[in-house]
Symmetry: C2
């Protein structure tokens, strides 16, 4: 067999997005109702195929983030690859999943394109009865777990907050993502002790009721030292 006519197989490459945010102290994920055939009508993660052979994968992820969710300038990081042969009935589709974290501000899903997108509480999306298209249930689980782990030793929590935030708002992020209750006094001490995590914003304050809280911004540090410890 001197000349081998073997050619590597060609694959369809897709991107899927796990977009997490906080709404009234609960963790939500953005899901869209599918309008085309495989799993028509079922809930699925936003995503799609590469536009053409030259599009970068992360560029495609940001494009879908903008097209399907109306979001830009949010935290975005690669999550994992899902390429099991039977995962898509249309053929061999390998999907690169990304994890995106959006601040709580964009309350209603911006409606330029697919307005059939909606924020679903993660607990509901993963409830035993809930059915997600493809292997998206597994992808959501992996995305949430990634967020939980990264909250421990990186400054990812600030990506859930607006540019200015209070320490108790930051605490709500940890409580919602970890699904635990934390002591405000110890949390305050811990967060202040991790230098570079948060820095004081203007000495302004804001207040619905109770004593006004100081405002902070995300600091320059991305890796927490010492890390936050989950109970």
């Amino acid at each position: 067999m001197p000349d081998d006519p073997w050619q590597p197989p060609r694959i369809l490459l897709a991107v899927d997005l796990v977009i997490l945010t906080l709404r009234d102290a609960r963790l939500h994920v953005l899901l869209v109702e599918r309008g085309i055939d495989p799993f028509l009508g079922a809930l699925a993660l936003p995503g799609g195929f590469l536009r053409d052979e030259h599009e970068d994968i992360e560029v495609a992820a940001r494009r879908e983030l903008s097209e399907e969710a109306g979001l830009s300038d949010v935290h975005l990081e690669p999550l994992a690859v899902y390429g099991e042969p039977g995962r898509d009935p249309r053929g061999r589709v390998v999907s690169v999943a990304y994890l995106a974290i959006a601040p709580r501000l964009p309350e209603p899903v911006a409606g330029t394109d697919a307005a059939n997108a909606s924020w679903i509480p993660v607990d509901d999306a993963l409830a035993p009865g809930a059915k997600l298209a493809f292997d998206h249930r597994r992808i959501v689980i992996d995305g949430v777990e990634r967020a939980r782990v990264k909250l421990e030793h990186t400054a990812l929590a600030t990506a859930f907050c607006a540019e200015s935030f209070t320490i108790s708002e930051l605490q709500q992020v940890y409580e919602a993502v970890w699904d635990v209750r934390l002591d405000p006094r110890n949390f305050y001490r811990k967060v202040q002790g991790a230098r570079g995590f948060i820095v004081a914003d203007g000495p302004m304050r804001k207040t619905p009721n109770g004593r006004p809280a100081r405002l902070f911004r995300a600091g320059p540090i991305h890796v927490l030292n010492p890390p936050m410890t989950r109970p």
Copy 2:
């Protein structure tokens, strides 16, 4: 535009392997000398394209692990995806990189297939003068960094050791991967304190010189509590 003739682009999917091991207290990575055209003669990570359209990606990784390195039954985990458009001159190649950890035992590279594979100290492979094919330098860096991080809060270090090992052998793993010196007394206490990390093996011992050391096996736990802390 009611019917859109657009078709998603088709991509070449490859797997690349960062295989790490310890040889005389230094971290090594397995590299092969390329025998075909792109980057012919340069050092590269073992890897290759999917065999056919139905091969699972991790199965392909284990196949390459066996074909190009003669290894089986080693720790293997997904590392990341590398799909930048220009990374392979042959076309749009998206590569799924895996991280493999091999115990120190298989000293010479098993020579069934490609005997042009060799263990290279990571320091040499990443030295400023060294040239690796494609973007494999970046992949090696990411693989080593992944190993460093996972050593902190998982039991990954035991994957570098044989089935039975001493605590000082385990310490050498941490010292080589982290490139630090650790206090044997504190390391001993720390490792013993993380329950489930290591369990006593037969009360046997072994000894080149010095007091004989107790033997341990990897415990049932994969996540360390408390974690190992890097100085």
